[in-house]
Amino acid sequence: MRYLPLTDADRSSMLATIGVDSVDALFRDVPDHAKLPGKIAGLPDHMGELAVERHLSRLAAKNVTASSVPFFVGAGAYKHHVPASVDQMLLRGEFLTSYTPYQPEVTQGTLQYLFEFQTQVALLTGMDVANASMYDGATGTAEAVLMAARVNKRNKVILSGGLHPHYREVVETTCGIMGMDIRAQAPDWKNAEDLSALLDAETSSVVVQTPSLFGHLRDFTALCDAAHAKGVMVIVVVTEVVSLGLLPSPGSMGADIVVCEGQSIGNGLNFGGPYVGLFATRDKFVRQMPGRLCGQTVDADGKRGFVLTLSTREQHIRREKATSNICTNSGLCALAFTIHLSLLGEQGLVGLARINHANAVTLADKLSSIKGVSVVNDGFFNEFTVKLPKKAAKVVSKLAANDILAGVPVSRLYPDVEGLEDLLLVATTEINSVEDMDALVRGLEEVL
């Protein structure tokens, strides 16, 4: 078997060194009833590369890929073009097969890119500091709510109706079990909610999203001011991080914690994972942050170097008193993010954001021109909500059958809320050509 270097001769000689007759003897502590005499039934024997490739390629071929059709699906994950060099760097064994950088002398490569990543995230979000990544945006949001509760020792959290429902559910699941009082607002598809009115002295934090699930934009400055006046922390969530090249940073609006899904930069769609959660906050809260932090220091010769730091917050030191149980981060996804963002640079990120927005403006105008179709939003980044004259889920299915992936029906996210059945979330990025947009328009015209 190609991954197992021991030969039978090796095994015999090693058993002799150990002084036992067989490998079975090494398993003597296993209760007899649990010792399997041979291989587990119901599974095939080992396969060569060609056979494995064919098996998996057959499964892969059953899926419709984003690059192969006019593609407008978003709602928290976005199809962007990633330069080829990004993936080739990730595949370097020194990054791919390296361990968590607990031994800094032999992992300065990993540590330095994490330090660069943290800085990039801080710059993007307009915050002071960022950690070395979370599993994804949704889990990061739950961690942010818990962190806010640690900071202000309050128990109530208000979730905007513009927050992605999956994020809401992760917060409900994760913070609910801790006994937090979670006040999720109704889906705010008209961008009409007023959260300031809900803030009180029991409120620990308020969670808003920009652009919202429905694509709406809003200035949170007033909300932040109102919240801070009552000791409430404002958590701003961004699920499309490319938007930060065009929209004002959450930090500039006064956010206390910013959580982003970082997938859009450097990472493929991957059917939902692995993704990378960005987590940024103000300096004063740093010791309440969850997750790994990379910090700058000096070595024995006084040279600048990097280490994981403030690990007294973490589970492997603090155990049950840790700020979070998170251990693994999204190292490689963070590396992809960092390399792609380094390639983009200031000019590239801003340019990419503008192209995304321009395509959305163009598409919104095209869709508005279809009889019976209206765009709900007055503003947006690269995704907006369309009101159709039919149920969006059926329209999406019919278009999928015609090889057009038109977007996400709001009803898939809110199956229990009435009145949202005709709403469709449509996202467009730099990958969409005018031909793609026209194909969507034609497709819609046909099925409506």
């Binding site: 059953k62 890119y113 004002p248 059917f271 840790a322 640079g345 229990d416």
Partner: protein, 497 residues
Amino acid sequence: QEEALIFELDNPGAVGVDLPKPVTTTTRLSGLSPRAGVGLPQLAEPDVVRHYTRLSQKNFAIDTTMYPLGSCTMKHNPRLNEKMARLPGFGDIHPMQPVETVQGALELIDQLAYWLKTLTGMPAVAMSPGAGAHGELCGLMAIHAALDARGESNRRRVLVPESAHGTNPATAAFCGFTVDTIPAEENGRVSVEAVKAKLGDDVACIMLTNPNTCGLFEPQIKEIADAVHAAGGYFYCDGANYNAIVGRVRPADLGVDAMHINLHKTFSTPHGGGGPGSGPVVLSDALAPFAPLPFVVHGKDGFALVEHAKDAGDAQPFGRLKGFHGQMGMFVRALSYMLSHGADGLRQVASDAVLNANYVLASLKDVMSASFEGPCMHEALFDDRFLKGTGVTPLDFAKAMIDEGYHPMTMYFPLVVHGALLIEPTETESKRTLDQFIGTMRHLAEKAKAGDLAHFQAAPRLTPRKRLDETQAARKPVLRWVKPAGSNPAELAQAAE
């Protein structure tokens, strides 16, 4: 060679990507002003590629050297798995596409779930946890939900042996449980008596790692499971060390109710310098109904995805753990690994992992102090008695290994022995490599005993950096680069070198 920070390499005016012009300059931003600037550096592609290539060269990795790293299985990462995960049919599909356009993806998840269930003997598996610790959270939330469903919300005490990974108590606390520590026995095991002494009707579960963090199989595990079950609690098994028993022992046969499986340990998805991981959790019949959303089911038109409680039938999902459906990219890699090994190969994985560890133990126990008599499982635990009087600490010893070309083993963990040195060679190291490693360890142990303290204290010498000042890092945290006021980035880059 020194490498400046990417920010210090800023070359304003350079670009690393070429983008077309926007099709329109009209904006529709609801009155928000476009952002003035972000502050990112600008570099051309050649400089970015060289920067990250050079950074990578400062790392040790499995591809370049043996990692005898106990508590975290660092085995060979086949490139086939990377290739498979990059098939557009897996890498380029969106989690919210209509399910009829992702039938192959759902089938893959279903197949991986089948392998995990068959290998462990467990009836159900929750696929979405994003890492091992996240899997622990999933398991404990399922236990929490099951207890609530039984009307026993008073059960809030969790038993954790002192040898446990830090994530165990952290997870328990994260779920609102209180942690009660079980002391280890002299022989590194947990005794059924010690567990029984802690049981009571407020006990929610026990969290036990098996093989445990001393690298030992818990011989009384079934008795412990039975006792916990008899007392109305559940048995959460930390599956971090599943590599030692995969294909040879089914956790179901040990009485396990929930166990997370680190795909990035046992099934070789790459560590990647710290992630991403993936931590599916196998569940017993008692806990299966509480598995989180979403999950894959066989529907009438192929595979379907249950995303909402109302579609979950009789199940009572405790909620949602992750933004989408789980770490698909890791699922593909893990299934590729499983298919490559097959039932015969996975059994051999455990056999060879255990054989390698025992070979190291047998070959070193005369010069290093083994904490427990063999046989061990996939890890060999030593402590610092052999360094007594030398002045050399386990940390010094480990740093000296670096200069010999090895990543250090895990040190000072588990906490149950003094100055632990935990060695896990894994099954993907050859006997030749082990023999060289053993030779080096013997050489270093003898060098320490011979009194060459300076050699150890100055180690490592051959690395890009010598020992780093972790105290300074924590005392005055510098967690990001800040542009020095009024300075020229080019000068800074040179100054840094």
